[in-house]
Symmetry: C2
Subunit: 455 residues, 2 copies
Amino acid sequence: MTNYLDQHRDRFLNELLELLRIPSVSADSKFKADVRRAAEYVRDRIQDAGADSVKIYETPGHPIVYGEKMVDPAAPTVLVYGHYDVQPADPYELWDSPPFEPVIKNDRIYARGACDDKGQFYMHIKALEFMLATHSLHCNVKIMIEGEEEVGSDHLGEFVKQHRDMLACDTILISDTSIIANDVPSIEVGLRGLTYLEVEVVGANRDLHSGVYGGAVANPINVLCDMIASLKDENGHITIPGFYDNVEVLSDEARKAMNEAPFDLDAYQKDLGIDEVMGEAGYTTIERTSIRPTLDVNGIWGGYTGEGAKTVLPAKAFAKISMRLVPNQTDKEIEALFTRHFESIAPASVKVKVKPHHGGLPYVNPTDSVEYEAASRAMEEAFGKKPIPTRGGGSIPIVALFEQELGVKSVLMGFGLDIDALHSPNESYGLFNYYKGIETIPLFYKHYAALKKAE
Amino acid sequence: MTNYLDQHRDRFLNELLELLRIPSVSADSKFKADVRRAAEYVRDRIQDAGADSVKIYETPGHPIVYGEKMVDPAAPTVLVYGHYDVQPADPYELWDSPPFEPVIKNDRIYARGACDDKGQFYMHIKALEFMLATHSLHCNVKIMIEGEEEVGSDHLGEFVKQHRDMLACDTILISDTSIIANDVPSIEVGLRGLTYLEVEVVGANRDLHSGVYGGAVANPINVLCDMIASLKDENGHITIPGFYDNVEVLSDEARKAMNEAPFDLDAYQKDLGIDEVMGEAGYTTIERTSIRPTLDVNGIWGGYTGEGAKTVLPAKAFAKISMRLVPNQTDKEIEALFTRHFESIAPASVKVKVKPHHGGLPYVNPTDSVEYEAASRAMEEAFGKKPIPTRGGGSIPIVALFEQELGVKSVLMGFGLDIDALHSPNESYGLFNYYKGIETIPLFYKHYAALKKAE
């Protein structure tokens, strides 16, 4: 195995760099053509790997790439999911090198999407190539790579509904998560859900002179700040009525267990350059980022933001606000609760609009399944250490939808690290992680085929 | 008099429109050359009006234009002050016509600076032209037009200090304020001061993934909202310790008198398109905009503000915050109180920077002075109605400095209206007000000369 990987090591890397040069930002319509180019590139590489019926499927949004290799009707079938779209790269000025001109520094690939998720899903295409080239594939493999994950996978749900037979499988394998460290392998067994909204606060029908009207007319920025501030109490609890009603409460044992995972608070704060962490009272940092829901303002703007000073009392103020959800909250329920509450706390002197963006359901995986066992054995064989089950703070909304539509669980076998700076300037992915992933994935198929046969 | 005005009516207007076409935005360095062009245009028009020693004086910032006409050493000397710079015009998309392409609609001039202050100071140049052409000037006139009023007149103070003899005068005449209505003339006898600052809240050393870090690491936007919200209590009182210590308390009589000025709350709310006004409990709208200090956020920004959704936990958030001051607050005192307080309320999980922009002292004028009497008689003669003394909400920081450096009071004889939309899109100035101003100003000189002689 290592022979083949060694021989093609450089090509495997260069193909990924080629993909990283395509600015496939799904959130911004000015990159539409680039998103399409990325889809075509992925299609061609899946083809090259040796898959059959490789094709681009159109959607009302960005296209979906699909291909498959059926080796044996009796063998288990694994659906690989990933996304070729990336987060917006701005603020560009904070990047040490242009986000779409990948560079290798200290054995890391720096580029938007290096880890999330181009680097991680591309490992699967190379693993497939390897297994087919070495005749070592003993599962049926289906690969589906979408282009709207970073904007809520709006059209994937409908696509899955319409292609249930084509996508039928025994499990879904996804690499879009992290391990604790390169010498501490882990597998995510939980994901948080997401509700994302945009709010607008409108005061007067025009911008006003802050001297002539200041003090007498509602300032939408001050009002928006009041409203946002009121969404959490002094203990960091979210004040939206009903917000916690369905939140899963873990046993003390479960909380104790998860807090035994290696975590160095000093190193964590040092890496972020902060003096103190900040979060919900009564919970550890591990808990705050996994089993507890959150509310964060992702963006805010209003009034004069240019150079110098303008004494304006603006007509409008805006904010993008998102909430991470945990079992058993649902994105639709929280979207409704937020909207009703936010409208209800607006003073009569302003008007408020709430516009929902995308959302997704939280998700939890069992650790006693054949799928988890196969992933655990693959990682143990590749890393020489048994992986730790963890619950991540991020969201892969589509995972819950897969279970609903295809009736199967997903295995979240990711190879990223916290330092990869996902969604941030200078996103990167370790060469070690890229190659280790390509090495581990075939081992998953090996163990999965064996375990299923033994069932 | 009216003859001359009638004959030159169109030229008087066209010269102003020409001036309004120059985008002399002092706050934004990309307009630096335009600000200079405006200064040269003003210099040439003052020259044409017949003034002597007309000259552009350089400053470390934008230049100052000065000219004078000394008719009689025994006559009183009046210093006219105005500013040829204007506020930034953005948001451009809210203008019905381009801000620097003036248009006349319903007898109003629409353009940035139409009223504030190009339209108003230009009346003085035309009034001077008229008085010299008709040999009816019986005062010495000095005209000083600066280019940094909208950014705090940073260099005018030093200029005045260095030219005390040149600027020596008996009073200062300024048209940069409003009247209650075209049939309700008024004279401002009070101005609010101003403290303007920019704040920055810094969390982690980079933008973070809101899923991976959300809930555990301080979000600078949420923190900034908390801090801003805490600056006022539920009654709209500002919570900065010591903020009200020096605030002038008016007698019930004085408050009663000022509330007798014509004011229609319904019409006020209807014009602004709001259901309710909002302000400090226990005070009327007239009081909130004149005798009470305020705190407004003039601009706020942070995180992702582009199209679509980005699940980022930003590293920084910013706001521009200004406070209107009343007697006997000082801008420096309030700047210090705000800075100390804002830094003190920042949680340990973030770092805060406070950067002062410009400021200015509040100002109050006596109504029993010869200067006020001259202005009152001039307006009564021109409008056919005795003007009402009012206290305005705006700030002309330089007025307090004039008193300090030149030892004389200023007369605030402005001709604008609330509907002029100063600092807003679609700023305008009524043709009635422009011509009425040109007609009233010579009457001020007439009555002032007579009253001084009678002293």
